[in-house]
Amino acid sequence: MSTPSPRSPGRTPARTRRASSTPSRAWSVFALPGTAWLAVFFAVPLYAVAAIAFGRIDPVFRNALPAWNPLRWEFATFADVLGEIVAGELRGVAVRTVLFVVVAVFCSLAIGYPVAYYLARSAGRTKTLILVLIVLPFWVSYLMRMLAWVNLLQRDGLVARFTSLFGIEHNWLDGSATAVTLGLVYGYVPFLILPLYATLERLDWRLVEAARDLGASPRQAFWRVTVPLSRPGVAAGLMLVALPMLGDYYTNDILSRSPRTEMLGNQIDFYLNAGTQPQRGAVLVLVLSFVLACLAWWYVRDNARSQEVR
């Protein structure tokens, strides 16, 4: 998964200069192939997105003419698309994306925190069992997990039949915001639980006991001690679910496939894979990357600050 690593590296000092007395330069040879790979297949492609977003469109064939030289960049399409996001066709999509993700992230936290907390506080065999069961979804393909919900939610599916017992006849799989949000939560919750569990597991529980000894009620101790101490884990977990949710389009496609629930990712998929307007797709990728970079920056800063407090 392309996700930030919430764990801080191990404890041993790494920078022992003597490292087998080989000159440092020689080690760069080992790093070279991988670095070259990432330069060619990661850095250049990201630049290509910008070159296409700020390039031109061939007037006859409608294919993209990338502007590799930044001095030749044109910003007309970029401004166009931004305008549409602020007050135009794409505004609904943008608002919906933010709304779905915020609700889904909040639900994920509401579900994930108690689970991570219980896991961190349990012990022995029970703990191993719960840990295995919580890790299990990681090994079940995401698409399989979505397929499972399609089977349950389709017209003659178990959930639909169950709700119709109460007279609720709802077409869950056609533009239902609830189904899409549920899909996002279902898909990504495990990514929030694990880092949160890791933080809660290492938490200094003596501080919570001290708070209790000093007269705090269990509730006060939880909100005033446990929650603030678990903040790095919460931040990491939120990042881990918010990043992929913002760029998700297939959950939406599978559970809804309706313009009424379309998100930013669906637009990118449409422009790039339908192959009609790669330039607009590239602009949207830039917009998405910018939003995600802001989030990542917030996370890094927040993390640094909570390290300081310690």
Binding site: M1, S2, T3, P4, P6, R7, G10, R11, T12, P13, A14, R15, A19, S20, R25, W27, S28, F30, L32, P33, G34, T35, W37, L38, F41, P45, L46, A48, V49, I111, P114, Y118, S122, I130, F138, V140, S141, Y142, L143, M144, L147, W149, N151, L152, Q154, L173, V189, L194, P195, P218, L243, Y250, D253, I254, R257, G265, L272, N273, G281, L292
Partner: protein, 286 residues
């Protein structure tokens, strides 16, 4: 306090049920004897092996798709592990001009969402690297890029805990540099490499976005891409069987990795617990 602990336990078990039961039902329905994926009509192996045309075993297109997924994951594994391990060792010890930038480059894909990576690769393959055809070649390149950083991070974490004293001891005892590397460092790194390999295999086999963006037509279709395309259509339970097979393959990868890890530890006379293994693999995953 007791009561809140009990409700917490109930909540956790409810969550676990919620997260697993739908998948269990989907697996169950691959054994349905009728055409429905949501109404149970009795147990049969029709969609696995029985049906002469539409079962997983007999439908050639389904077999192709499954083979595509496995080939892609194995190719990714074979390229990513050596490339990533070497990069981790290099980055850990190389100080000087360019090392900081290389480290940043190695970490950046971890915070890049897959959609951005997939879109960027699609655009670069169609506009600049015209020599690389969309389809399996592009998919392999994409999957390696997707997974490389993960190997680097996992192996570097292990390098940090190992330190350099073992290698120095070997050098003091007369080993050459490359001998110290081959006979001391690499064996010490093996558990981390195996754990990373397990996660790379699983990530690659489950991947949808990159496979889909860089695929072209039926020849390079993978299982997740097929599920995505067919799940809302009038598919038979054979699709559930295909999805179940995918889950089984990813568990085979996990078990194989686990077996190797156990064997390695056993040889060193260490004991491994299940929880240790789980946390080793999930750490590489997170």
């Amino acid at each position: 306090m007791r009561r809140s602990a009990r409700s917490l336990a109930a909540f956790t078990w409810a969550y676990i049920a919620w997260s697993l039961v739908p998948v269990a039902i989907a697996i169950l329905f691959s054994f349905n004897s009728g055409r429905s994926r949501s109404v149970w009509q009795g147990f049969s192996l029709r969609w696995w092996t029985g049906d002469p045309n539409a079962s997983l075993l007999r439908d050639e297109s389904m077999r192709t798709v499954a083979v595509n997924s496995v080939v892609l994951a194995l190719a990714t594994l074979v390229i990513t592990l050596p490339l990533g391990t070497a990069m981790a060792v290099g980055l850990q010890r190389w100080r000087g001009h360019g090392s900081g930038a290389a480290s940043t480059l190695a970490a950046a894909p971890l915070v890049t969402p897959e959609l951005v990576l997939g879109a960027a690769l699609l655009l670069v393959f169609t506009n600049l690297y015209a020599a690389v055809p969309l389809g399996r070649p592009a998919q392999v390149l994409g999957h390696v890029t997707l997974n490389l950083s993960l190997v680097v991070v996992t192996v570097r974490a292990r390098l940090l805990t190992i330190g350099s004293s073992y290698e120095e001891a070997a050098r003091d005892l007369g080993a050459t540099r490359s001998e110290a590397l081959r006979f001391v460092l690499v064996p010490l790194l093996r558990p981390a490499i195996v754990a990373a390999g397990v996660v790379v295999f699983a990530t690659s086999i489950d991947d949808f976005i990159v496979s889909s963006f860089l695929g072209s037509g039926a020849g390079s279709e993978t299982v997740p891409v097929r599920i995505y395309g067919a799940v809302r259509g009038a598919s038979t339970p054979a699709l559930n069987a295909l999805a179940t097979l995918l889950v089984m393959i990813s568990f085979v990868g996990l078990l194989a990795g686990g077996a190797i890890l156990f064997a390695l530890r056993r040889r060193n006379g260490e004991r491994v617990t299940l929880r240790e293994f789980v946390s080793e693999v999930t750490q590489a995953d997170a």
